[in-house]
Symmetry: C2
Subunit: 392 residues, 2 copies
């Protein structure tokens, strides 16, 4: 039998998608009576009025709330613990993540720790994580204000342990958000460069999930649609941030890519990026992925030719006869999104870092490397880092 | 803003898909300790060994069971009530539907009535149904042995009230199966004509859901993939029933079409078919749909031109320039599946029936007509019945 036709699907999250939907939150089934709202340390959620809009809706629904507003772009373990304490002290019975992936992922981590007790790192698998089984979590409501992570509809989170310098993914089915409200209106204010970084994060969730050995007919369906939509609409959203139609299409593609993460998964590219941004946390995740992508995807060009051609066809809407068409289309997309000139040297990376980067990526991301179309040797991983850092 | 970009998605069912998966049931999370197994009055589930295979797996998992084996091809209300009594007498805490749509739909109806109490018809909306709100149901495990209804992953069922001659759909989110095991091995023994009828049922779930006014980006994704797969593989499965690869593709398309029913919905064609098979229950549901489809889809040819062309492109893999291409492709597919010569006269229908058929369809299926691309007048509905019955 050709291909793989044994697979599962089980995404329990209730998705409510559409411009303006946050204004309808009070009419939705909410999973508790007192919420811990998790937002970033930045001012945007307050300045843009999103926090007030959320609180007003909770009020209308008769739900109390307290707000934890300390989350950094690369969310850290100590904030998970601080938020957990706040959640317990205030007897919150569910957690709302409002913002980018960092706020939602922290909300997920708090939901685990508040329910399970103890230290969050006990529940992380791999690296120095304790590997304890998560058997439950507080219900989570995810309200993304960026289009990229897909965390609103997946069972994953990423938290950095600032003591051990590990940026680790964690995942289990108890952290699927109960409710995800994807309201593209909330994304109109994201500046061009961030729009591109985040959109490419979604793109790579889809592309990695498509070439992942764990791909299935359902993850393929989500992935190819996300790839198609992002190639078409991400440049529009980057170059005209007020275009709500393009924002909406990009938001939907990002949610689809989250569904890819829930049915297939990320590959070595994401593991390598986590090593990059663990070393220099100022590097935006999406920028790291964009920088890695040329060398990473070139490596598998002859290993999964049909899948590269299929992605190229979805992107360009032309028949593809060679896997390199995907690499070409990817280069065009970067240019159109004005992210074809990212230099890792500007973030402080040098060739001298590559050994440590490879060690970190392998130590913390082995499960993702397992998804690669074929096994990458340590030398190949080093070569990808070398090519990426040299690129200029 | 063009198109519709406000929508929801929430299919909580855990799907386990793949040839041979029934043999792994004992390793899956089961929702209870004592099951009512619902199977048809026919001998096939026993003769083919599927019932024993299921019981063996339940045994291995330490789950007790009792079997209710009376379900007819058009399942009836009195069997829902008899099964409910059996479920209550034996203190079953979940219901397993093993078989075609009739067994699974009856399992869903029993799950409602055993949980809610009273008579099943009290919970049916529309027609002579009592319209009471369903606030819960016993957990349901669905194991389809045919590829067509998609009921294993949707929130709908169809039961005939044999006293009032109503064939009524019922639906609510409590009857999403907790677990759906779609094992194409169980479908190898379905004879050619039934394979075609059931496969076309799935095809029309997808095609109706695609032209339904309630369509959304997610239902479109599922629908077009189901339409593509069925056009390609249903003729193979009909003409070579032992081809497990084609059976698998058809089974997956049918489940996808079920996901269309959960995200968009059926339209007037299904309402009209329910009227046909309420009058002559010997008419297989799929055969009724196939007979209706020519006149039905012709009616909307100019109302949803782009969507007809898109379906034609997915089917033929050629660019389409006219909506009639869909009607042509549909005619080819019927011929290849050897169902292009269904005559309703052979089931006893005459032109004299059309008024009663229209009345029944409108009375019991108004919600489905609401999904049509545009409002059909009673006269148009009558004309579709006339064209369908005259067709020979």
């Amino acid at each position: 039998m050709k291909g793989k036709m044994k697979f599962g699907l089980n995404i329990p999250t209730q998705l409510v998608f559409g411009a303006g939907e946050l204004r309808n939150l009070s009419t939705m089934r909410l999973p508790g009576k007192k919420a811990l709202i998790v937002i970033s340390a930045g001012t945007s959620m307050k300045r843009l009025g999103y926090l007030d809009r959320l609180k007003e809706q909770l009020d209308k629904a008769g739900v109390e709330s307290v707000t934890f507003d300390k989350i950094l772009p690369n969310p850290i373990k100590s904030h998970v613990m601080e938020g957990t304490q706040m959640c317990l002290d205030n007897k919150c019975d569910f957690v709302i993540g409002l913002g980018g992936g960092s706020s939602i992922d922290t909300a997920k981590a708090i939901a685990i720790t508040a329910h399970m007790g103890g230290d969050f790192w006990e529940y992380v698998q791999g690296g120095t994580g304790g590997g304890k089984k998560v058997t439950g979590a507080l219900p989570i409501v995810a309200i993304p204000t960026t289009a990229g992570t897909g965390t609103e509809i997946d069972l994953w989170g990423v938290i950095t342990n600032e003591e051990t310098h590990e940026k680790m993914g964690f995942g289990n089915r108890h952290i699927y958000p109960t409710l995800a409200i994807v309201d593209p209106e909330l994304m109109l204010s994201v500046p061009p460069a961030l729009t591109a970084y985040q959109g490419f994060d979604a793109f790579f969730h889809a592309a990695e999930g498509y070439i992942n050995k764990a791909h299935s007919p359902i993850s393929d369906l989500y992935a190819l649609e996300a790839v198609r939509l992002l190639y078409k609409y991400l440049p529009v959203a980057v170059n005209d941030g007020n275009n709500l139609w393009a924002r909406t299409k990009v938001a939907w593609a990002s949610t689809l890519a989250g569904m890819v993460e829930s049915t297939s998964g990320c590959t070595g590219e994401h593991a390598m990026e986590h090593a990059l941004s663990a070393l220099h946390p100022e590097l935006p995740h999406g920028a790291g992925l964009i920088a890695l992508s040329k060398a990473y995807f070139k490596t598998f060009k002859n290993d999964t030719m049909k899948r590269y051609m299929k992605m190229a066809e979805k992107m360009t809407q032309h028949k593809s006869a060679r896997p390199g068409d995907f690499l070409d289309a990817l280069a065009i997309m970067k240019r159109e999104c004005k992210v074809d000139k990212i230099k890792l040297s500007e973030y402080g990376f040098t060739i001298a870092d590559v050994d440590a980067l490879a060690d970190n990526a392998i130590a913390t991301g082995s499960a993702m490397f397992d998804g690669d179309p074929r096994f990458l040797t340590r030398e190949e991983i080093i070569n990808i880092f070398v090519d990426t850092i040299r690129e200029d």
